[in-house]
Symmetry: C2
Subunit: 335 residues, 2 copies
Amino acid sequence: MSNPVLVEVTRGNLVESRHRGAVVAVDGEGHTVFSLGDTDAVIFPRSACKAMQALPLVESGAADAYGFGAKALALACSSHSGEPEHVALAVEMLAAAERDVGALECGAHWSSDQKTLIAQARSLEAPSALHNNCSGKHAGFVCTCCHSGTEVSGYIGYDHPIQRQIRGVMADLTGAIFARDNCGVDGCSIPTYAVPLKALAHGFAKMATGFGLEPERARASKRLIDACMAEPFYVAGTKRACTRLMKTAPGRIFAKTGAEGVFCAAIPEKGIAIALKCEDGTTRAAEAMVAATLARFFADEPEIRAALMAQANHAMSNWNGMHVGDVRVTEAFAI
Amino acid sequence: MSNPVLVEVTRGNLVESRHRGAVVAVDGEGHTVFSLGDTDAVIFPRSACKAMQALPLVESGAADAYGFGAKALALACSSHSGEPEHVALAVEMLAAAERDVGALECGAHWSSDQKTLIAQARSLEAPSALHNNCSGKHAGFVCTCCHSGTEVSGYIGYDHPIQRQIRGVMADLTGAIFARDNCGVDGCSIPTYAVPLKALAHGFAKMATGFGLEPERARASKRLIDACMAEPFYVAGTKRACTRLMKTAPGRIFAKTGAEGVFCAAIPEKGIAIALKCEDGTTRAAEAMVAATLARFFADEPEIRAALMAQANHAMSNWNGMHVGDVRVTEAFAI
């Protein structure tokens, strides 16, 4: 099936660009409570599933052994902007396991946030792996290996114990298959697996509700989701969508983006989770889609609903600050 | 009609993201020689029509009066990266009309090219309007006004003589309507008008061939197109698609991108021009589409064809330099 147009970008009185996509919200039992587009199609969750990938860090006892609080757990689930606080915390996490930047295998890149990039350009010769948006997740992998006495080197490889462990966790959560056939390599070099969009949402609904999970996994899941909601800055950064969405209803919304237009989210108290993919991989559209989908579940709280819809539908300005158009979700969301 | 998927982005063995769009190639008489998708739909050409907007600079005699060579004319048609050579030439153009950065009304922004942005961050407190990717076009407007004795201030406004003149030129070239109803405001604050994709292509085919144009307009059009092809660095910048495409067959291909996934191109010797719009506004897809479309017209020159197809279909690497997937045009181009 063809995915519907879910987001339009206007200029003057006309629509200039259109984004298609698929969105699904499910409960802990896996029942669909809202959907648009082809939710059975497989998508790469990319960084949107980092909270799932962080489960071994908690379940292994490494997080406790190294004294990690909510900030470190949030950073382990993050795609951060490389702001000084993010970088310092990644250093701290590695130091707890007596490691440093040399252990990280994620590669280096400048911040994708312009203000942070400018500050980095003025203070650094070049970025290191600590500045990589995935350095918190990778620090978590390193700590998990160190705690269990597993060789750290090569931890990004498909056959390394930590990646095998992650496959097991994600298969349990989503009920999907994790194997060579549906495996790609992520930006930070670890394996990423294409899964049905609905299965991804179900995995997050199980994390958010504990439904169908062993008690230890349910506890670890709650701890990670709670950590992200408690420390939203450490999940993304200044002015970033994940951080902003979680701040809209503190402690009540979990939200995590992934590259190529993916977003996962959950509202634990309502027992639901959301997964979505913008077909063309565009971030601005995925952000609008997740905000509009979350807003549906706050129909009885007009202030939160309005704050979320203001993130779904918003004005765009040009270099002189003139209003030139809008990003807005389409009538498809009116169902 | 629904636009077909024209570009796929893969990861591992799977397609991760898909881009739809419309493409048309026409000759000077306006006959379609190749098309995909809805080519009657209106699109905002944005910066892709800068060569049209530069016609008053040449036709008014301002370019000659100020001694502008191919580099300055190319910069007047450019969306440049704000590299030092671009900025210096914009200063020079303004100085020829005894003006400076203070005359520019385009607003300021840091370079969108990361390497240039890092250099700017290290040498500048903040960017000026000279660093705006449109500063060459705006310098051209300022010079046109100065030469004719028109008040410069307010030259970005819908009712200013230079914008009225541009509407007249573009209506003559495209046969489309240019009025308030189909007008939006561009990133650099001048009016931009939604026109049918095919009409835009026809306008460039007329510029590239002179077909149906008054002799003076035909000469000015040839001079601008030739200037861009002769000085492709000044149309965009280091590693940019427009520059690269024009360098693939020096003096034979004209190519100019616009924001939100637009590309216009021409092959004067073959008497055709191309216009395309990626429905979702993504640059990577528009670049693949224009390269694949240009390649069709070099079927009898395998080296050029291969060089263009290598720009249409190319590998993507991650932060560690590992091959993670590809950008590729779809079978839709096989017609």
